[in-house]
Symmetry: C2
């Protein structure tokens, strides 16, 4: 049976997964790009590289919130937007996008297919598990999507990366969640020269 | 002119400076002792040791909240409680304790003296600055005391230590504070094998 995983999910010291004022130019909000400095440094720390390289390992399907798929809000004016990633997205699996607005599935290069789920987070996860078979399901984000699954106790393992930055406001990841009460424990701590990697597991 | 500093202030991944249910047995709340595992390991990491050894350097007076001084709440039933630290506390300076309940000052071994300030945080800091002279003032804690001074923009430099633990509930340090808006920026990141040290400065 596959697991449900969050990987390489970065938060600031003050707990934000995205900065304020998200937009097409700033998909992670003002200052939010700095959350991932550890993953895009030309001279990557070996610890960072190990995590970054492994993000897709064993994942047979992804779930993400609509904001992670794109900046379009409300009804789809057309179906031109096909994600942030160009013609060959990095997932190479079926990707299930949580949305309130139905849209037909479509395929892209590299084994990527996108499916739009209007029946909620539990239904999206069920479809992703079916698509993943024996493999794991990755929850890509953003913060509100991860919070939904954490609150429901549906994430088996979550790898967070604390970036040494301040965002001040934006999307908090853990605020108001009592993770031990939800069944989570810290199982791994791996610091790098640019960030602090911490892994939680449902116990 | 001396600076106002917070040093070695530990928080959990989920942002708590103390766990739930603080008591005489658990002065940092349930699980809160683990916040300081980095500082009390028999085989201290050199990075941790550098910070732990320097905590008193250049500090001429301390300010702390009443809960950091002791577990007594409300009116002082007597003046027997003289802090958690035995006859020779580690401060070796005047210490100003924020409280709503007046109490006479007293001295202890090693140059320690304790003074109880009922006129609020700003008054306590003014007295501490006067006592420190050219030296710095240390804000010892706990979380609500540090939050008061942060909100007022009165802390010049703050060294936080993110411990790889979950507390779930308790005393949050940064929740609801927009540190960049308050004038703070991240100036140093120093990871150790047990915790992630981050330093903020008023810019």
């Amino acid at each position: 049976m596959g697991k449900v995983r969050v990987r390489n999910f970065s938060i600031s010291l003050d707990g934000f997964a995205a900065g304020p004022d998200q937009s097409l130019d700033d998909p992670l909000g003002v200052g939010g790009e700095d959350l991932h400095r550890w993953a895009f440094a030309p001279d990557m720390d070996p610890v960072d590289k190990r995590f970054a390289d492994a993000i897709m390992d064993g994942i047979g399907a992804w779930v993400m919130g609509r904001n992670m798929f794109g900046p379009v809000r409300g009804d789809w004016p057309d179906f031109d937007w096909k994600g942030w990633w160009g013609p060959n997205p990095p997932y190479h699996t079926p990707v299930f996008v949580l949305t309130h607005h139905a849209r037909p599935s479509f395929e892209m290069e590299g084994g990527n297919s996108f499916h739009f789920v209007t029946e909620g987070a539990v239904a999206a996860l069920a479809r992703a598990k079916a698509a993943a078979g024996d493999q794991d399901v990755g929850i890509g984000g953003g913060a509100s999507t991860v919070r939904q699954y954490l609150t429901a106790g549906l994430i088996d393992e979550m790898h967070l990366v604390v970036a040494p930055i301040l965002l001040g406001s934006g999307e908090p990841l853990l605020a108001g969640l009592d993770l031990p009460a939800l069944g989570y424990a810290m199982t791994d701590y791996a610091p790098s020269s640019r960030a602090a990697h911490m892994t939680l597991r449902k116990v």
